[in-house]
Symmetry: C2
Subunit: 366 residues, 2 copies
C-alpha cells in the first residue's frame, strides 16, 4: 500500500478535533480549507488555526485531495455523503467515535461508485473539552489514529489517509470497523458512562449530604473528569454504539457485583486478588512518548518533588533551548517523574548537552 | 472548644501518610518521633523526614502529647489501643480510611477510662502511591482532615487534634464516624472499586484483543489511575466498610443500568439529561488552592498551550524568585489553565511584581 501526503485538505466541522487537525496540518505545510455550519465555530477556527474559510460545504471540498469530516456523530453520515457527492475525486475520511453506524448511514446515502473514496477513521485523542478555542496541534501528536477501511474502500484512498495522518504527527493504526467499535466500547465509551454515573450519583447524594464533595480528593477528581465532556456529543456516540456499549456495561456491572459479593463476604483475599490483577495491568499501561517529525524528543527523569520542573525549565532557559512541548509523566508507582521534552530537531543535541552538564540524565527518544 | 498545638508528636506507621504527616509536622516546628514494625519503612522515614526513630511502640509514645496512628486498617485498632495503654495521658488519633469498624475494635481492646483520649481521624489525601519514599509535606497541604470524635472523646482531646491538623496546613473538618463512613463510601471507596473493576475488565479483554490498550487515551488513563493503589490496603479498607460500600455499589450499579436502558432505547434526550446533570456537578467541583502558613500563594492564569509553563518558570527564574511548589489546575472547560504558585511569604510580593512586569495577571491568594 502506497502512502502519499496530500498538499491540500479540507476540514468539515471546526470544533476541537477539526481545528486541532487543521493546526497540525498547517504545521506540516499542508494547505487547509475549513467549513462549519456554525459561523462562530468557523470564525474561531480561522482565528486559532489560520485556515482558509469556505462559505459552504461544496466550496470547502472543491479543491481538496482529502476531506476530514469532524461533525458530531448524528450529522456525520450526511456530511461525509455530501462531501463524496460534491467532489468527484477527493478522498473523504472522518473523525467519528463510532464507525459501523456511520458507515451504514453513508452507504445508504451515496451510490456505490463513491464508496472507494471513503476511508472511515478515528483519532484517539481529544479529552473533555470542546470548541476551536481549545484546539492545539499537540492534541494529535503521537496519538493512535484508527484507519478502518471498509471492503469497498480503495487501498489508494487508505494510503492517502495513512500519509496524511503520519505527516501531522499521529500514528495510523489499522482496525476493521467492527473491531474498532468493540474496543472503544471498553476503553472510551464505558469510561465515559462510568465517570458520568459516578459524578451524577455523588451529586444526587450531595443534596442530603453537602459535605460529600468536600471529601472528594484526587481519586474522585480523576474518576469524574470525563463527566465534564459535552453531553450532546456523547449521548449521540453512545446511542450509535448501543449494542457494544450495552455488552461492555453488562460485563462491567458483573465485575462490580462480583467485587461487591467478595466484600460482603469479608473475603479480603479475593478482593486483593482482583485488585492485584488490575494493578499489574495498570502499571503495564505505560505512558507512550509522543513523537513527530521535525522535532527532537528527550526523556528526562526528574525527582517528583516541588521545584523539579522549575529547575529543569530554568536549566533549559539558561542554555537558550526553546521548549516546544513538555509532557509530565508521573510514574504510577514512582518517587520519580519523567519529563518528555519536545524541542526543534536541530536543538535536540544541544538540549541534551545542556541537561547533562547540569547532572540530568536525558535519553534521546527521537 | 480550645485548639492547642502539641510540641511533640509520634507517628506510628511510617508509610506514605505517616511520613508525610511527620514531614509536615517538622515543617511546623513540631518534634516528631516515629515507629514502624517494618525496619525498612522506619529507616526510609528517617531518611526522608528526619524523624527520631523509636525502638518499639511504648518508646515511641513515651514523651508525646499526640500520637498519630497510620497503620493499615487491619492492624489499626490494635496499634491505637496499645498506644492508649502505653501512655497514660497522650491523645491518640489515627489516619484510617474507615472509622466505625476501627472504633469498635478499639473499644473492645481498652478500658473505658482510656477512650476520652481517642480522637478518630482521617486525612483525605494520599493517592495511589505508597511508602515513605513518596512522602511529602505537600500531601497534607490544604486537604480536608476529618476529625470524628465519639461520644466518649474528651473535647480537649479533639481540640489538640484540631490544633495539630491546622498547624501542619490541613483543614480539620468535623463529621460523626457514621457520617464519615457513609460519605467516603461514595467519594473514595466506590471510585477505587470502579477504577479497579474497569482496569481489570480491560485487561481480561486484552487477552483476546491486544490492541485494546493501544486505544486507551487520556480518559481511560484517568479512570484507571487509582487501580495502581496498594491491593492489600484497599482490600482491608473495603471489607471494613462493607455495608456502606455495598449500598453505594448498589446505587452505582442501578445508575449504570439505567443509563444502559436509556442507551438501548435510543433515548438520546434521556442520556443527555443525565450527562448534563453530571457535567454541571463536575464543573462545580472546582480545584481548591492549597494554602499553609509561612508561604505566599499566587494564582496565575496561563494559556493552556505548550511552553506556557516554561515561560512562566523562566520569568520567575529570571526574577530570582524561588518556587516552593507549583500546582497546575487545568480548567475542565477552559482554554486557559491556572498555575497556583507557592513561594516563601517574604518573596510573594516580589513574585507578583516580576510576573506583572511580564504581562501575567497574578492574584495573591495568601
Amino acid at each position: 500500500m502506497t502512502s502519499t501526503v496530500p498538499s491540500h485538505v479540507s476540514v468539515l466541522g471546526t470544533g476541537l478535533i477539526g481545528t486541532s487537525v487543521a493546526m497540525a496540518a498547517a504545521r506540516a505545510g499542508i494547505a487547509v480549507t475549513g467549513w462549519d455550519p456554525d459561523a462562530d465555530a468557523l470564525h474561531g477556527a480561522v482565528e486559532r488555526a489560520g485556515l482558509d474559510p469556505a462559505r459552504d460545504l461544496p466550496e470547502a471540498v472543491a479543491t481538496s485531495e482529502l476531506v476530514v469530516a469532524c461533525a458530531p456523530i448524528g450529522a456525520l453520515g450526511a456530511v461525509i455523503a455530501e462531501a463524496l457527492v460534491a467532489s468527484p475525486d477527493a478522498v473523504v475520511t472522518d473523525a467519528g467515535s463510532v464507525k459501523e453506524a456511520v458507515i451504514t448511514d453513508v452507504e445508504a446515502r451515496v451510490f456505490a461508485e463513491a464508496l472507494p473514496r471513503y476511508v472511515p477513521g478515528h483519532p484517539m485523542g481529544g479529552g473533555e473539552r470542546a470548541g476551536p478555542e481549545h484546539a492545539s496541534a499537540s492534541i494529535v501528536d503521537g496519538i493512535v489514529w484508527v484507519v478502518a477501511p471498509t471492503p469497498a474502500t480503495d487501498p489508494a484512498s487508505t494510503g492517502l489517509v495513512d500519509g496524511f495522518v503520519t505527516s501531522i504527527g499521529a500514528r495510523p493504526t489499522r482496525l476493521t470497523p467492527e473491531r474498532h467499535d468493540r474496543l472503544v466500547a471498553f476503553v472510551s465509551h464505558l469510561p465515559q458512562v462510568a465517570s458520568s454515573a459516578l459524578m451524577d450519583l455523588a451529586a444526587v447524594e450531595e443534596a442530603d449530604e453537602p459535605e460529600i464533595l468536600l471529601l472528594a480528593a484526587g481519586g474522585f477528581r480523576d474518576l469524574t473528569r470525563l463527566a465534564a465532556s459535552d453531553p450532546s456529543l456523547w449521548a449521540e456516540i453512545l446511542v450509535a454504539n448501543r449494542d457494544r456499549i450495552g455488552a461492555a456495561l453488562d460485563l462491567y456491572v458483573s465485575r462490580l457485583l462480583e467485587l461487591r459479593d467478595r466484600i460482603a463476604n469479608d473475603d479480603v483475599g479475593a478482593v486483593r486478588e482482583s485488585f492485584d490483577r488490575a494493578k499489574r495491568a495498570r502499571l503495564g499501561l505505560t505512558a507512550k512518548p509522543q513523537v513527530r517529525s521535525g522535532v527532537g524528543v528527550l526523556q528526562v527523569p526528574v525527582p517528583d518533588v516541588p521545584g523539579a520542573l522549575a529547575a529543569l525549565t530554568a536549566t533549559l532557559g539558561a542554555g537558550a533551548v526553546n521548549i516546544e512541548d513538555l509532557q509530565i509523566v508521573h510514574s504510577p508507582e514512582g518517587g520519580r517523574g519523567t519529563v518528555v521534552l519536545t524541542v526543534a530537531a536541530i536543538e535536540a543535541d544541544r538540549a541534551a548537552s545542556v541537561l547533562a552538564a547540569s547532572d540530568y540524565d536525558p535519553v534521546r527518544l527521537a
